[in-house]
Subunit: 293 residues, 4 copies
């Protein structure tokens, strides 16, 4: 996106004094520049002493912001990205805790890094979202978006369940497992990694499909083109309940015969300071320098 | 490729009576069609009773064939693909043993399947090769191509070694391991899978980078864009020897300070019969239907 | 155990015509020997046309049987072993489906193999059970036994949870994961294997402890002496529910602060025909002969 | 072992100024106690300014020492343990680098910890060694001992090789792989861990058998009783060379038809200071507290 940054949207984590402090520092600092600000209505409680700042709803935030500054951490940024999916917004994250994979600006570097970004010095990358649509017969049960991962997993039961997976209408297999996970490259360093999945570079147009505790002999994760449509159908004749989960949020209870399709859906533009180094983040977060012996 | 198939190149595994039989059956059957045939000079011994068939060198085979029929198995096809890399040939494989991932036509289906292909009914997919170039200072030690994988691994020693990996000139890390493997999607079901790597769909423009027995805590395989240039430099100050191996062929002994770059390089066009189903092959080869308990 | 086999207990899977058939064949065949039979009351429905056979309760079955013949599969045998844990019974399993790890006599070999066993020609091995005891403060919530595995896992939630694990009162670690699995060697080829665990020989006095999708960098399974007492305490200050599951049976909902201890508890004596070969079973079940490429 | 400690053997890493310093500090400190000291002849170069200290050969060191203090790290301790295997010595390790799994006394704690140990306050654990014996026909090619692991692996070749494994004369399987590793519990946190193996508690009488890059579908590590005899036979009719490696030391080149047996062999008594905590070492070395996200 080559849009010059004139209008700034602001989103902050709630019930976090550190977020309130950072938000106030940020507004104070940036007001010296010729910029318009707006605060998302969902973040109003994060700024108790109201600055002279318009409060806007999600639609306005998404439509009018040239850049959305998210103050919190990876979780806050994931939530905001899902909320604003349809506006394909440009976002940058201030991280109040340990640096994240997504929100990679420290509060102490915040004013410098944002000055650089507002001066046009930044790295921008696309991160695509997925959409899951759950069907019961021809009825749509729910639609939900995910930046990291979509999981269909056993729920309220200790038993694995049977499901059939198709990729672009071709049978992948009939499987029995605790569940199945579909991850974006962005999500490959999250839940997917805990389960033994590969780390996929964010620039790659790929999806990762992984079975959870499958009842089978060989079960390497599968990496697919992200133009693929994945369809998971719960087999009939089993007494189970499953759950559709998007980025860790339980979205829909599923019954035998239900069907979920998963496809690429929209994208956000993630902004990093000019010195951003993806591999340095990986080295730090995954402690590649450390040795066990 | 939309070139009509008029000229057929033939390559066959040596010292295999089954290959000889299949080659003779094939020539006899296809001679009834209005086609030109040529046999690669490296396969002459496979056809002791010479048919009236021109024997051609690699250059002619590569330049003139509209389709190369390879009789043998995945190994013969890999070898032929490396040999003809610069001609970006169209190839199809007859498999004399158990069906392969690449050579997927059974001898019993051979005449039917090839008739269909020659009638224009086929599925064609690109499979890219990689090229490794090894440097000692500014001198090029060797160049070699691989369809499956390039491995840099300890050699003649029981000790792991230290190396530094860059991706597109960015540091990935300083690592100590038994070696490092870079695989294409085609190779993801070969050596890469033995080491716990993911299965990557052949259509994906990706490379897989995996450490072999690394001396580190976390070491998930990494999946990269195949436009990436990977550079592996053997660290100085270690008394080791390493080996550069392309598709299982030892290509160059490496010493401390040596440097290997790995990049995408050319492609072949792999032809399948019209009923080809990639996932059916995976299910069969990996026995996804089988259950351990 | 060197007790001669005079009294036979019988347990059969319900609602299985194959089990009924096998049970009738078995009774008919064995009645020619000088043996006493008794049928467990829970299996009465499996034998609709009552033979002249005493029907006994669990206590009598456990106390009086010199050998319990279980007709069904690994699941039926697991259930019977838990039911009779306190009697440390001697058991043999007839498998109506594909051969199991535990029940390893085929219906077609049943009469021959049982004749050999009754003639004193058999292999006997101990398989120990575990007992989980769940506490809320000083109150015991439940006790349950397992032959295969005990799992404490998230329940009704998509969030991982925090717990603290001690081994013999020594801190192993504070962990966040989807759960934790403790398996016997017997269970090492069941759920444990799906999660990437090792295969532990049944003769080894060992327990396996494995985290499920842990939020940590390194998480190899841990193999411990089976005299170890494992204690898992759910951390306070989290809004979660977890479930204690024994051999796949949900046994107790757990809340923050709850504590579960897991120890070795009793054993059964598993009888095999004289030609039993543990490694042959492994080769067959895990298809070690098969090759992916 | 309840032998009171009167005679101290000393072993130090060569070409390490830190080892020399620690050795001198140690001798100076301990000379105030009523003890006899002796320095292994292999460590003479580590103490250039000779104290009034007898220099002894391996036999005397092994036979006469009540405790051997090894100054260096895990590597020096492994080497000393193999050297002295037949004397089943009692050893303690001073670690000059980052704390090891075996040598767990820091130089700064050295005098305090050794005072405590000499006063009888210590934890002692047995660690068993393995012995590999390689045969060509009926000829013994070599015998070698290992504290950590024995590996039979491809050598001077890029090709996997075929071998047959027996456990206590029972066939485990015919396998094709880059090699096979047999590890003690002590070695389970070394090479074995890099390859995805489990962590086995040192008190467990177990061996771990793991295939390296096997050409098979399922290949979980196997944990066996350490009374098992493992036999690996290189299959005939292959053009390969393999290497037998003990604790990382290349010991014997193997050819098709050669046979290696591996058995438990002797033990050492590893002494720790009284506050030793095995799980604390694991937590520290494996960084279990660290989280990737």
């Amino acid at each position: 996106m080559n849009i010059p940054i004139k209008k700034i949207g602001l989103v902050a984590k709630l019930q976090s004094p550190a977020a309130t402090d950072a938000l106030q520092t940020l507004i104070y600092h940036l007001q010296r520049r010729d910029l318009t600000f707006m605060l998302h209505q969902g973040s109003v409680d994060a700024l108790p002493q109201l600055a002279d700042l318009p409060i806007v709803d999600t639609v306005t935030l998404g439509k009018q912001s040239d850049l959305i500054i998210v103050i919190g951490g990876d979780g806050t940024l994931l939530h905001t990205a899902r909320l604003l999916a349809r506006y394909e917004s440009r976002m940058v994250g201030i991280n109040l805790g340990r640096l994240g994979f997504l929100a990679d600006i420290k509060p102490t570097d915040m004013t410098n890094d944002l000055d650089a970004i507002l001066d046009g010095h930044f790295i921008e990358e696309k991160r695509f979202l997925m959409r899951a649509t759950a069907f019961r017969g021809k009825t749509i049960l729910t639609r939900c978006n995910a930046v990291n991962d979509i999981v269909i997993h056993k729920w309220n039961t200790t038993h694995l369940f049977g499901f059939t997976t198709h990729i672009n209408k071709c049978l992948l297999g009939n499987q029995r497992a605790d569940g199945v996970l579909i991850s974006t490259p962005t999500g490959s360093t999250a839940y997917c990694l805990s389960g033994g999945g590969p780390i996929v570079h964010p620039s790659l147009n790929a999806l990762i499909l992984m079975l959870l505790f499958p009842h089978t002999l060989s079960h390497a994760p599968i990496v697919l083109d992200n133009d693929s449509e994945i369809e998971v159908t719960l087999q009939l004749n089993q007494d189970i309940e499953a759950q559709l989960t998007c980025d860790g949020v339980a979205s829909q209870t599923l019954l035998p015969g239900d069907r979920v399709t998963i496809k690429k859906h929209r994208q956000i533009y993630l902004v990093h300071p000019p010195n951003h180094d993806h591999y340095a983040t990986l080295r730090d977060k995954l402690r590649w320098g450390y040795q066990s012996t």
